[in-house]
Symmetry: C3
Subunit: 109 residues, 3 copies
């Protein structure tokens, strides 16, 4: 068995759990914080049989791949807002980092 430990952006976490449920992959989610940006993210644990690791990586890749989104930045509060024009800007979102660890033994009580 392998423990697949995945760190994803908060906004992708629920969609990833939904997709894992559909693939009948059991999972546990822990709230976490990124060391660099100090933003909330999510750490997801899935203990799976060895032959299912590729399936889990496939689901993660499909749901969390890095992509560009158009985002309209929030105008800074100090400006007189009516004269401030914000243009949408391309930002990279998504992405996940995945660690696969070996499970020596699994028990259900």
């Amino acid at each position: 068995m392998k423990l697949v430990l995945t760190i994803v952006q908060e906004k992708d976490a629920n969609r990833l759990i939904d997709a894992l449920n559909e693939a009948n992959i059991h999972a546990t989610m822990l709230a976490s914080t990124g060391g660099f940006l100090r933003e909330g993210n999510a750490t997801i644990l899935t203990g799976v049989e060895d032959h299912l690791v590729e399936t889990v990586l496939g689901v993660i890749g499909r749901v969390c791949h890095r992509r560009e989104q158009l985002m309209t930045p929030i105008p800074p509060v100090v400006e007189p807002v009516d004269s401030y024009v914000t243009y949408p800007v391309k930002v990279e979102v998504g992405g996940a980092i995945v660690f696969v660890l070996n499970i020596e033994r699994m028990e259900r009580v």
Copy 2:
């Protein structure tokens, strides 16, 4: 050394930590969420010498074994409550899933 990673129901978590303390097993608890039911549960980490793994599994089995409890369901709020009779119903509670991982090195600073 081994890292014993246990996922238990929230209502069993404190009793398990108490039982581990009595057995002089050091532990750390992390709040987590189940992927399927999206209910709060707890993920408990215990780093122990190899020969103590059986002891830890024994404590977990004693405290968290799956069992049936009689629970009285909460009447749905829409009914006129006085005419609504609730009968206790048998529900399965407890249970734990345990992963044992190898620790290559442990340091205390």
Copy 3:
């Protein structure tokens, strides 16, 4: 690759993350609770190349080493506070416990 899992006191967690960032070590922080004192602490995950494990342990040792601090205990609320003299007392703080686990595979999506 190795997963370095560090459990530190809450008050050392941010300083440790800062020091890891300066050393260009990526990290993720999870809120946790100590099994014995039931106080909040932090569990920090850092996935690093094998040759960086010593660097990470060095940073943790420098930031989180056990040390004595003079603390003035808070007077118990029941006393007539004006007649109650508190002397500073030496208390041991800091300290960290570190587990190094093997990562079989790492993916970025």
